[in-house]
Subunit: 254 residues, 2 copies
């Protein structure tokens, strides 16, 4: 299955890149800075068609085209973000990703994050027992503490100091705001960030979560609960050591 | 002169890259997250030697090795940041730059920002009448308004809401925190960010400022004053349209 998915991603990336020169059709979703383009929709449709040709029974959980409400826990579910970091895509023509995850009966089997313009594909999970950066197997990042690493942050969460985001940031070596969840996961998987604190939807965190867990790192949702895979929610992903410290900060402030 | 400087930068970059595999010697400067490594110092010494071989009378204004106090306004001054984004360099082994600027009698003539790991050299200024991205001439970015673009921010400034940083960020399409001034300037020069609001030292802003002005954009220091080139100071660089809006926000809140 992974070979097919990688093929779809590379083919989708060609569509995205060839679309960069054209005039994008940009629409607002939930406000001025929440954008969707014709490319998001076309790429999702393209991937969905490939999935249905490959496995007609597969279910889709995806950001665009009204497929955002599929339960994660029954059957084989493909979780799709055709363009993660749409604002970067529109404004920068770089720093965006294509993301796909495969869940079977609620268990994450494979995750794929493709940084299109840097040609960097991170993929893996329980189905293959490994995580790769392109063709190179990734080793598990060092289990660094919060004070030893950089941490990715959602800007609004940090500004409003929700969920003790500022104390978490102050305890770390520094925050980074990249505007693309996929890039935060790529940094965590490569060991160049120790975590990521954000508000995310299932298609933002599905692929990254599968690969983080494969490499021995942990993720959690609001109130120390597992991620719900239902709508947008608070998200923490981190090394085990950093996660323990983040949870201690949350409890101390409760 | 520009050919020589580009040669030094590429040679320095090789030293930096070959040093990445070795154990870095990391020291703290003004606190836990303000780091300097043996590589910063060695690269500054290397560039300074090249400068003095080329022009024995040239003056140096640089971050390391006690050369941080040279006045900008007399003679030919080379402004050097051997590794801009030292925290990224240490933590990520990417997302850092080598920066050099040349001032003559206080007038910026040439700026150079080299994103070492992406092999992207932005350079130019009045001396050559242009700005280049590697060998390609850059055209002036569109004069976008604040609400039309992404803006780079210093995380502490944003968290503490100094200089109305949060309102500036809220008026824009979104903030980005990259942890490396050079990368913010690269984004502005390529037109993928409309500005940058930060606290910077002369070696952080010298090269970027020269190139921004060459492409018709503007920079300013605290209290609407020109940059002082003396110590760390408030910095805004932006398109002309975004700068006008940022100044209006500052005045409205005064």
């Amino acid at each position: 299955m992974e070979k097919e998915i990688i093929g779809w991603i590379y083919e989708a990336a060609e569509k995205v890149k060839s679309g960069l020169g054209d005039a994008l059709k940009v629409d607002q979703k939930n406000g001025r800075t929440d954008l969707v383009t014709n490319v998001d929709k076309e790429v999702q449709d393209f991937i969905v068609k490939k999935i249905h040709d490959y496995d007609p029974k597969a279910l889709i959980l995806g950001e665009e085209n009204g497929q955002d409400d599929t339960p994660i826990d029954k059957g084989r579910v493909f979780v799709i973000d055709p363009i993660d970091g749409t604002l970067n895509f529109v404004m920068q023509q770089e720093n965006f990703c294509i993301m796909i995850a495969v869940y079977e009966e609620g268990v994450g089997q494979l995750g794929f994050i493709y940084d299109v313009m840097r040609d960097e594909l991170l993929w893996g999970g329980p189905k293959v027992g490994k995580v790769y950066n392109n063709k190179e197997e990734l080793s598990a990042p060092e289990n660094k503490s919060l004070s030893e690493g950089l941490i990715g942050m959602n800007a609004a969460l940090y500004r409003k100091d929700l969920f003790h985001a500022q104390e978490i940031g102050q305890t770390s070596m520094g925050i980074r705001v990249l505007g693309c969840a996929g890039l935060d996961f790529v940094a965590i998987l490569k060991g160049t960030q120790i975590g990521y604190v954000s508000m995310l939807s299932p298609w933002d965190y599905a692929a990254g979560t599968i690969m983080m867990e494969q490499l021995g790192m942990t993720v959690i949702g609001e109130n120390q609960q597992p991620l719900s895979f239902k709508g947008r929610e608070f998200f923490i992903g981190a090394t085990q050591a950093a996660m323990a410290e983040i949870q201690a900060i949350s409890k101390a402030n409760h």
